[in-house]
Amino acid sequence: MPDNANFLRLEGLQVHFPIQGGLFDRVLGRPPRAVRAVDGIDLNIRRGEIVALVGESGSGKTTVGRAITKLAQPTSGRLLFEDEDMSSVRGSSALRPYRHRVQMIFQDAYQALNPRHTVFEIVAEPLRSLQLVEGGKQLADRVSEALAAAGLNPPGDFFSRFPHELSGGQRQRVVIAGALAVKPKLIVADEPVSMLDVSIRAQILQVLVDLRAKHNMALLFITHDLPLAWLIADRIAVLYLGKLVEIGSADEITFNPHHPYTVALRNATPQIRSDASRVGLPALQGEVPSAARVPKGCRFHPRCPVAFHRCKEEEPPAIEVAANHTAACWLAT
């Protein structure tokens, strides 16, 4: 059995997207620019662990998920899965063993399902393309099993339905069933509940949590919602402009955040308080800058309420503030 720590590791992972410079730029010999969507992150996920990746839009959280699922090619850095370097593996047949172990769930289930395929075809697709089953009987059994595990009962009723004939919650369950069908070891879930009605969200979360309990499946849960991350995850990693600013246990990040950005995120999150008191903390000013123009030094310094001169010059390293809790801030101790 491989070491737990070496399940999935990201080492200095970078995903940059080049910006097509105009003719003008090329004539003047300006260096090509790039959107630094993910700008060097180190993260490991243990076997059977739920890690939440929290960030705003433009933080690069979706790109991290796409890099792990090989939908985006890393510019540099390494993606190690069970000690195997997957960063440069390309092509659908070479990736087949990896796809078998790492699957993905998408934010908008309606978009993620081909409108012209039936539920059966959708869930059977990974089994067929990864050549995991032989014969129609086995295929039908695996599809039924996956649909049932995702909470669509009885599975046979859904086989010939089309995505538009399902409710929002059912559609997301079909996406989950498709990912489950191959019995992966890691699922990357990109905002899987943000498009769903509040009363349906908890149902889907329950399905995901049950998977871990039953099959020891690891989950990378990408979200913008800190309380949701706290509810579902063992650890939370907070991403700002392509860099991890803080990682720690869910409780540590929620109740004892060290990085000013995490603090701001927590304070900005609307909360239900049974005594209806409002804390009324000052909201953070400004907005996330473009990833094509990353500020020098600590990338949060232009918006940081406690920034000082050093933050403008030097990028802070990840500093251990408690056991298994690091924050990338010069003030973190």
Partner: protein
């Protein structure tokens, strides 16, 4: 329930309002006898899931119902006078100057080829009969009011961030000095920190201009931050109405309680995922009786047959048979 003293008369009264949608000859009821009152300067959250009728209610009040919708009963009164909400032409003078709307997708609501200052000045020219110069001055004033430096008015919509665009939408909504602003999921597409900024702006504007605010949202925690009162809708009906403290402290309707429980809340420290079984009903096959009964943990026989009426409990109102019985028991115990 509603304070009837002269100076505190309701600004807006919605009285047993029903709206039907006609689709391919089949008509389905989107909202069913919705009644409530709104006072000047009050912030009310209208909360519900998709298909609950929250948006239809708000659009009916603003007189912006889609062509296939029909007001099938009830009325809406503004300062005691009936609003012609189903007559597009007659409604025109009331729109924007009495009730205005801040829509969700700011990018779709703004014209990409015009500078924002021009788009804000437009309603001032058309509605208030201002000259171009006056209108531009007013638009600059409005931009400052929503926290955008007036010089940024020369920008085009695509040059602004999502939060800025939403501010522009708010400025446009305020152009004709309305007394009611309806926010249709105004922060749903925004990031958490931007959402907090916009909610704070709305709160500030409300106290500054004595605006009444109707905030339509699916997110109870947003309401908890920004409103005084909450109305919960389910399948086209109002199921509970009360102050933020009452609803979140002591929810009465089982749906409200389950909804609150299903929102993760680190403050209470309990990491339990509680879910409501089943799916929200669609408009065409609404369950009989109380529409929530198939999903309700405390449903009784009567819930399947009789629609519970919205009755006053304490300072709020609730539509649940359970509470009617509790009340009757109380009365019996007193006697």
């Amino acid at each position: 329930m509603i304070n009837s003293s002269q100076d505190n008369a309701p600004l807006l009264e919605v009285d047993r309002l029903s709206v039907d949608y006609g689709l391919k000859g089949v008509s389905s009821r989107a909202i069913d006898r919705v009644s409530f009152a709104l006072r000047a300067g009050e912030a009310v959250g209208l909360v519900g899931e998709s298909g609950s009728g929250k948006t239809t209610t708000a659009m009916a009040i603003a007189g912006l119902l889609s062509p296939n919708a029909r007001v099938s009963g009830g009325e809406v009164r503004y300062r005691g006078k009936r609003l012609p909400i189903d007559d597009d032409a007659a409604m025109r003078p009331h729109r924007w100057s009495e009730t205005s709307v801040v829509f969700q997708g700011a990018m779709n609501a703004l014209n990409p080829v015009h500078r924002i200052i021009k788009q804000i000045a437009e309603p001032c020219v058309l509605k208030l009969g201002m000259s171009r110069v006056e209108a531009t001055a007013r638009a600059r004033e409005l931009l400052e009011l929503v926290g955008i430096p007036a010089d940024r008015g020369a920008a085009y919509p695509h040059e602004l961030s999502g939060g800025m665009r939403q501010r522009v939408m708010i400025a446009m909504a305020l152009a004709c000095r309305p007394s009611i602003v309806i926010g249709d999921e105004p922060t749903t597409a925004l990031d958490v920190i931007t959402q907090a900024q916009i909610l704070k702006l709305l709160g500030d504007l409300r106290s500054q201009l004595n605006l009444a605010l109707i905030l339509i949202t699916h997110d109870l925690s947003v309401v908890a931050e920004a409103c005084d009162r909450v109305m919960i809708m389910y399948s086209g009906r109002l199921v509970e109405d009360g102050t933020v403290a009452e609803i979140f402290g002591k929810p009465k309707h089982p749906y409200t309680r389950l909804l609150i429980d299903s929102i993760p809340n680190p403050a209470n420290g309990k990491k339990v995922i509680r879910h409501i079984p089943g799916d929200p009903p669609s408009l065409v096959n609404r369950p009989s009786g109380c529409a929530f009964h198939p999903r309700c943990p405390s449903a009784m026989g009567v819930c399947q047959t009789e629609v519970p009426s919205l009755t006053g409990v304490g300072r709020g109102r609730v539509a649940c048979h359970l509470h009617r019985f509790l009340q009757e028991d109380k009365v019996a115990a007193h006697a």
